[in-house]
Symmetry: C2
């Protein structure tokens, strides 16, 4: 392979693995750029191959299908988001007041949904899977823990699911696109909800 700075695979397995990882990263970055520029509906395997300077076969071997590519794109940002709230800098990460962490959690999630809501919605189409997904479970565990640390009593499991449902991609896209409610208003409303729920 000579195009766009991808060296030909070296002879050792370690090099091949490193190449594959770079390759995958390059494809995800390129795919994300396409989505940002023209929207998720316009992201095709052909277009990605052209933009990345790779063969279409390589793309299919890497992701299996367009659905697999979307899944990997989403998985990547969910992992970044999880890393942020589990071990990133405060107030999203550890070390801040639990109420401030809850506020930061919702604000960051809303930002993520507005940036890549279309990908989220594409993958979320199977509604039963939406709530059962590992990413949703990780967020739920985190929010429920913070509610407990903030001293909220009551049915924290259901309260957590209620609060998370307000950050759902389909709802947030309806609010921002159909109702023209901007991101700042949604973020302020999330903060208001957190304060109502956590005040003694």
């Amino acid at each position: 392979m000579t195009s766009l700075g991808f060296p030909a695979p070296a002879s050792t397995a370690a090099c091949e693995r490193a190449d594959a990882a770079r390759n995958r990263e390059h494809l995800l970055v390129t795919a994300r750029a396409i989505v940002d520029e023209v929207g998720v509906d316009a992201l095709t395997m052909d277009g990605l191959a052209r933009a990345a300077g790779l063969g279409k076969g390589t793309i299919f071997r890497r992701f299996g299908s367009r659905a697999g590519l979307l899944h990997d794109l989403l998985n990547d940002s969910e992992l970044q988001f999880q890393h942020g709230f589990l071990s990133g800098p405060a107030p999203l990460g550890p070390g801040a007041d639990p109420v401030d962490r809850l506020v930061a959690f919702g604000r960051e999630r809303l930002r993520l949904v507005t940036v890549q809501g279309d990908i989220l919605r594409s993958v979320e189409s199977e509604s039963a899977l939406r709530y059962a997904a590992p990413a949703h479970a990780a967020s739920a565990m985190h929010v429920q823990m913070l509610l407990g640390q903030a001293g909220v009593d009551g049915d924290l499991q259901v309260l957590t699911l209620t609060m998370l449902s307000s950050l759902d991609a389909a709802l947030v896209l309806f609010e921002t696109r159909d109702l023209q409610i901007d991101l700042d208003r949604l973020a302020d409303a999330w903060e208001d909800l957190v304060r109502r729920v956590t005040r003694g």
Copy 2:
């Protein structure tokens, strides 16, 4: 037509309209009984025709398709629900304290979702339509009005959408079926949410 008490159409248009209305009502009642007994997935146009003692052609002329039948089934109960909160007896209907009306609204909605959640979910599959549906808009107007009457300040439009998202069929079915949270717990959690949001 001689089967199951459906008289042959009389000669006047008025009688035909009355027959058609009775016919439709009979079909919806029968369809609902089938759903209650064996679930929405087992509801077929053939099965409905047999159970109602009518020809399959009549069923298709009436509803167009299975999707049309589900839509009519849902529409029917949404209208009943709307009638209940707009002009039914208190505390769901007018005349009670706004906080009590909010509590009753959620409890009744949760009951409705657990009774016919599968139909709701079948129709809700197009997520963008879910929030834009007239039934959702009517509920949103009602909840926002009650929050205002209860003296809640803040962004009532977004707060209303957040509260309604906790009553969403897909979420409630996930809570009751996957997480085994029973209806009483969900109803109590709704009441708890209403009280947290409305306390001064």
